[in-house]
Each structure stands twice: as structure tokens, then as C-alpha cells.
Subunit: 226 residues, 2 copies
């Protein structure tokens, strides 16, 4: 038999992506820009949380948003109405954002005039967890109506995030969502990520989330080498 060379394409592509993601992370750190990657299923409240966050932090930080969630510009328009610059990545059916797409989006922004950039990733609990975007930190939202069993079904997503936001806590009353069981399941996958209970509708619990983000974005801005 002649020789067979075997190339694992997926691993090669992920390795290339990982290298670019590290480059992005280092570049943004040097500039003092904090890049937050926000992931969740469709409808968990990514856009609502982003709008709430913009309103609370816009006096303190210069913010922009990268929208990859859906194949339209609805979410970008929502952000733009808040007076915040937005880049809409029309993915044309791709199931996640990768570092090369984030690079394209960052090229459209004036990084010298920004402190905080929020990525609204594609609504999907699977693929975005596999692919490093170059973000400084990763956040995920689970909403109460999705159920407390999701850490069992999507363990990678819960493992890779730096913070878990449990949204729509206003639905907890009368629901069978077991917050304690959920916290234990998350804890077994990821001992470091805090679980923050919020309701974007009522505003309950948002202070803890805003503090989490503000502390980290402040530290990044403070350590800029400019």
C-alpha cells in the first residue's frame, strides 16, 4: 500500500482560530478594551441584557456592540437607537461566530475611542461554545423557561463561560425550575463561574451583573499600555 496522510480538518481549523483569538485578546488588552462574548439560546434575553447594560454603563465606559445573533439587522437597530455604535455580522446561516469574523467587526470600529465591546453571539448553546472569539471574557444566559436541566445537556457551554446569568427570574414563581439544583449542576461543570440571578424585565439582580462587568472592564482599561 502507498502512504496515507491523515489531516484532521476540524482540529486544524480550530487551531488556526485559537491563534487568531489569542492575537485579538492580546491586542485588545494592550489597548485597554474589554471584549465580552455573550452567548445563549435564541430568546434567552441577550439583546434585553445588552440594552440594560448599555444604559447602566454608558456614562462610565465608551461602548460598542457586535451583533451576530440573527440574519437581519433588528438587534443592531435596537442597540443603535440607544446611541451606541453597532456592527452587524450577517452570518448567512453560520451557527457561531469565530475569531476571523470578530476581527472583521473590530476593523470596522474605532478601537482607540472604546473601552467595552459586547458581542451578541448567534443564538445557539452548542457551536459558539467550541469556538474562541478572542473575547476577554465569556458570559452565557440561561432563562428560567428553558429549564434547570440545561447544564446536563449543554455541558461545554457551561464549562467555558466565566459567568452564568440566570435570566427571567420573574418566571420562577409557579415554575418547577429548581435554582439550587441548577446551581449545583453548573458548579460541577465550572467551579469558578458565579451564577447571577437577574430579571431584565423587572431589573431585579442587575446590580450584581453590572458590578461583575464593571470591575473587569475597569481593570482592563486601567492596565492599557497606551
Amino acid at each position: 500500500m502507498a502512504e496515507i496522510r491523515l489531516i484532521e480538518i476540524k482540529e486544524e481549523i480550530l487551531a488556526d482560530n485559537a491563534a487568531l483569538a489569542e492575537e485579538i485578546r492580546a491586542d485588545l488588552k494592550r489597548r485597554g478594551v474589554f471584549l465580552l462574548n455573550l452567548m445563549s439560546s435564541p430568546g434567552s434575553g441577550k439583546t434585553s441584557l445588552i440594552v440594560r447594560t448599555l444604559r447602566r454603563l454608558r456614562e462610565t465606559f465608551r461602548i460598542a456592540v457586535i451583533e451576530g445573533d440573527i440574519d437581519s439587522i433588528v438587534d443592531a437597530e435596537t442597540v443603535s437607537r440607544e446611541g451606541i455604535p453597532a456592527v452587524q455580522l450577517r452570518t448567512g446561516g453560520f451557527c457561531h461566530l469565530d475569531a476571523s469574523m470578530i476581527r472583521l467587526a473590530l476593523n470596522e470600529l474605532d478601537l482607540a475611542s472604546l473601552d467595552l465591546i459586547v458581542i451578541e453571539n448567534v443564538g445557539n448553546l452548542v457551536c459558539p461554545a467550541e469556538v474562541d472569539t478572542g473575547a476577554t471574557k465569556n458570559a452565557m444566559i440561561l432563562s428560567v423557561p428553558e429549564g434547570d436541566d440545561k447544564p446536563l445537556k449543554y455541558p461545554l457551554m457551561f464549562s467555558v463561560c466565566d459567568v452564568v446569568i440566570l435570566n427571567k427570574t420573574d418566571y420562577l414563581e409557579g415554575s418547577d425550575f429548581d435554582v439550587q439544583a441548577f446551581r449545583e449542576r453548573v458548579g460541577r461543570l465550572n467551579a469558578k463561574a458565579p451564577v447571577l440571578e437577574v430579571s431584565c424585565r423587572t431589573g431585579a439582580g442587575l446590580d450584581a451583573w453590572i458590578d461583575w462587568l464593571r470591575t473587569r472592564a475597569d481593570a482592563t482599561r486601567g492596565s492599557a499600555s497606551r
Copy 2:
């Protein structure tokens, strides 16, 4: 409203791919290496045609095969048993090969000792047609059992190929496959691509296919700038 920048990800990715594909094509032309991209549905006979082709042309050309068809090394082993070097691209679920994957595979081959490389693309009549691999020429196989209506359903595939191979003609007898109607449908999409009727099982019609490929690979080899 703040400004919204819109980036069409799919177009960007295809544009990057197109540039790399042109680079590959020019590089191989300079080296006198003919790269054939063979596309079809699963089970149309790509591997069978490749084995038949190797046996007919191995005395004349130094050949290698790039296998992307399936997520195992079965096809690469079939080729390797013929004494022909093979690179197996394990796509890990990707639905097509792109120029960056072909670049990886070419890097594993000693191009100076080759005249002809055949890519067995992923079995799929849709996505491979959208993505330029850098091949010198594109060939597609349709097998008689798939039906004469396929040009109507997969027009892009029939449009981008340089030759259409109608395989399994030994099934024509007693079938309702209308060869004349098929030829007309292909002709409306692609006036330049010849339709070659073959049976990899009986060997019928293979001479015309071998002639088609030999002529072109010969011309490429003859025009090498080495």
C-alpha cells in the same frame, strides 16, 4: 441613532477562499500539476471512477488522491491499495472542501513528483458547488439511479463543472432515465461541459473520460515553467 456597520460574513469568507483558490491554481499551473475536483452525491461512484482512472493513467502520469468524502479512511485505503499516495481529509462534519483544506493537503504531497492530483470531494450536490477548491478543472458525476431531473434541482453544481459524467449507464435499460432530456437540461445550464456516459462497472464509455482528462493533464504538464 448611532451608526450601524453591516458585514456580510458569507461573502467575506467566500472572497477570502476565492483568493486562496486562485493562488493554488496559479502555483500548480507553474509546477505543471493538474488538479481535478470530483464532486457528486454520496454513492454516485466517485471512488470507483477514481480507481478506474488511476489504473488507466498511472503509466502516463504520476498521480495522488486527496480524499474528503467521508469521515473515515476507507476511500483513502482503497486508493492506497492501488499504490497511489493519498491524503485523507477528515472533515469532522464539514459539508464541503474549501481552498484552505486543499492547501493543507497539498502541503503533505511532494508536488515536484506529481502530474495529476484528484480530489474526491464530500458527497453533496449543494455546498461543494459554491466553494472553489483551487482545482484546475471541476468534474461531477451523476448516476442513472439518481434521476434525470437533478439538473433542475441542483443547477449550480451543473453550472460550475467542466464535464458531467453520467455513471451507471448499465442501469439505463429498464429505467425511466431520459438521457436526451438530461442532456438538454445540462445544456441549458452549461453549454460548454460535455456529458460523458460511462459505466464504471462494465467499463463502457470510460475511453472518452480518460481522453478528456489525459488531454488536459498533458497540456498542463507541458506548460510547466520548470
